[in-house]
């Protein structure tokens, strides 16, 4: 039934896109206002509260002893979990993570993992027996669209905020972070590409592409979503947008 109501809204947003305008008066390649607050959660090893417009996400880091995977005896572990809390949206329900929550966690995971943001080689206590497991818990508090970029930014900001563990097995002087991946999502509405879709725009977008880049502008992870398609030129344009905006967002990490 909410789909039907939004059909009127759909026309409005699509009409605006044709004129190169957006519902919240942004330009097509204008990100919403972003704020990054590091360390709000003292019970976490590291934490960050990220706001992208009215979207709010907290990421918290926990580090624990773990037995390594048999095929990776000399690697620490990275576990990313995302919760679409029912307090964040009328459409989120309590219960086990659904496909959207799992996709969100996996997209954030890939950005961190494939960029080697964490030096997992250093997180070994005893080969094959005892390693550090780094848990990144993504907590979505208020959903006004583009959870992927907000969550990915919160995750890397929380990692950069992470302090050495107070545990006799921890020997590193600091938390081993070596890269700063940042994810930027570009949505397609009415054949126009827009950066950082808000919730209303997500409701009418044909497709989205999320691109994680590192400091040198190269790509470390991507995810296309939505039932629509991208043309090759559109992907190239989206990458340029993500690269440029990625540098801006990375600057907010301090």
């Amino acid at each position: 039934m909410y789909e039907i109501v939004s059909s009127v809204r759909r026309d409005y947003i699509a009409d605006l896109a044709r004129e190169g305008k957006r519902i919240d008066a942004r330009t097509l390649n204008q990100f919403r206002e972003v704020s990054v607050e590091v360390g709000p959660i003292k019970s976490a090893q590291g934490s960050a509260l990220v706001k992208v417009g009215k979207t709010q996400v907290i990421a918290g880091i926990k580090v624990e002893h773990a037995e390594p995977f048999p095929d990776k005896p000399d690697n620490g572990m990275l576990i990313v979990n995302a919760e679409l809390l029912p307090l964040a949206s009328p459409t989120f329900e309590p219960g086990r993570p659904n496909e959207n929550a799992i996709e969100l966690a996996r997209v954030v995971d890939r950005g961190i993992r494939e960029s080697n943001a964490i030096d997992l080689d250093k997180l070994v206590i005893k080969s094959g027996e005892d390693v550090w497991a780094v848990f990144i818990d993504i907590y979505v508090l208020d959903h006004d669209g583009n959870l992927i970029d907000a969550s990915a930014l919160a995750a890397i900001a929380a990692l950069l905020n992470a302090k050495p563990l107070e545990d006799e097995a921890w020997t590193l002087p600091e938390f081993p972070i070596q890269k700063r991946p940042v994810t930027v999502t570009v949505a397609k509405i009415n054949n126009k590409l827009i950066i950082d879709p808000c919730l209303d725009e997500e409701g009418v977008m044909d497709a989205r592409i999320s691109i994680a880049t590192i400091e040198d502008g190269s790509i470390c992870a991507m995810q296309k979503g939505g039932i629509g398609y991208f043309l090759r030129e559109e992907l190239e344009q989206a990458y340029e947008m993500a690269r440029a905006e990625g540098a801006e967002l990375r600057a907010k990490l301090g």
Partner: protein, 240 residues
């Protein structure tokens, strides 16, 4: 941290408070965009969010009540809110707290105005240091008012307990762990109706009465701050 020999030295607790002193309390109304109503509460090192959705259509339909709205509460802790990472999802403790929270809040709501609907209260503990259920109830009451749900009054909540044979207000995690008694209470402040009471430990008759005295006094203070938080959000502002 090892247990100190004494939890109260010269009338001062580990964090410097007097026995009848509340931790620093901050209450903010309406901090979430999507929720119909919301509130954020900091009580010492506790950080708790509450959101309200509703009254809204009840699904599944067979759970609709023909003559009243249904109140549902979910208390949940973030994995990073405690020292050892908490596995996501409900456990026995959070299910019980959700139940007693609902029972603490339900009687102040005019649920009969909204037959067949549901009102959802979601409480999320972001950082925990004992007393999270009381902070959650304080936040939830403000969030319900912020959502425009008609209520007879607020619900205010605090814990009292016993450490070093002294009755104290609003225990921290260390005090809870090493003390002998913990008693969370919630009440409808104006008429002093107690809507939540749990207790574990040991109280004599006199100690119990003394603990109730402390709780009543503290709830009065919290009640004032809850109302102030709502006033701050809704006061007509002069143009800047």
């Amino acid at each position: 941290m090892k247990k100190p020999e004494k939890l109260i030295v010269n009338g001062e607790r580990l964090d410097g408070r007097a026995p009848d002193e509340l931790r620093p309390l901050k209450i903010e109304a309406g901090i979430l965009e999507r929720a119909d109503g919301s509130a954020y509460v900091e009580l010492g090192a506790n950080k708790v969010l509450a959101a309200v959705y509703g009254p809204r259509e009840m699904h599944p339909r067979h759970r609709q009540q023909p003559d009243t709205a249904v109140l549902r509460c979910r208390y949940n802790m973030a994995p990073f809110s405690v020292d050892e990472r908490k596995r996501p999802g409900p456990d026995r403790r959070s299910v019980e707290i959700s139940k007693v929270t609902r029972e603490a809040l339900e009687s102040v709501l005019f649920l009969e105005l909204y037959p067949r609907s549901v009102i959802d209260v979601f409480i999320e503990v972001l950082q925990a240091d004992a007393g999270t259920r009381t902070a959650g109830i304080n936040a939830a009451a403000v969030a319900l008012a912020d959502a425009g749900v008609p209520m007879r009054d607020m619900v205010s909540s605090v814990a009292v307990g016993k450490i070093d044979d002294t009755i104290v207000l609003d225990l921290t995690k260390d005090e809870d762990q090493w003390g002998t008694t913990d008693m969370p209470i919630a009440m409808v402040p104006r008429k002093k109706l107690i809507t939540l009471l749990q207790m574990d430990g040991h109280f004599t008759k006199e100690e119990f009465e003394q603990a109730l005295d402390l709780a009543f006094k503290a709830c009065e203070q919290i009640y004032g701050m809850q109302r102030q938080a709502l006033r701050e959000k809704y006061a007509i502002k002069q143009e800047e």
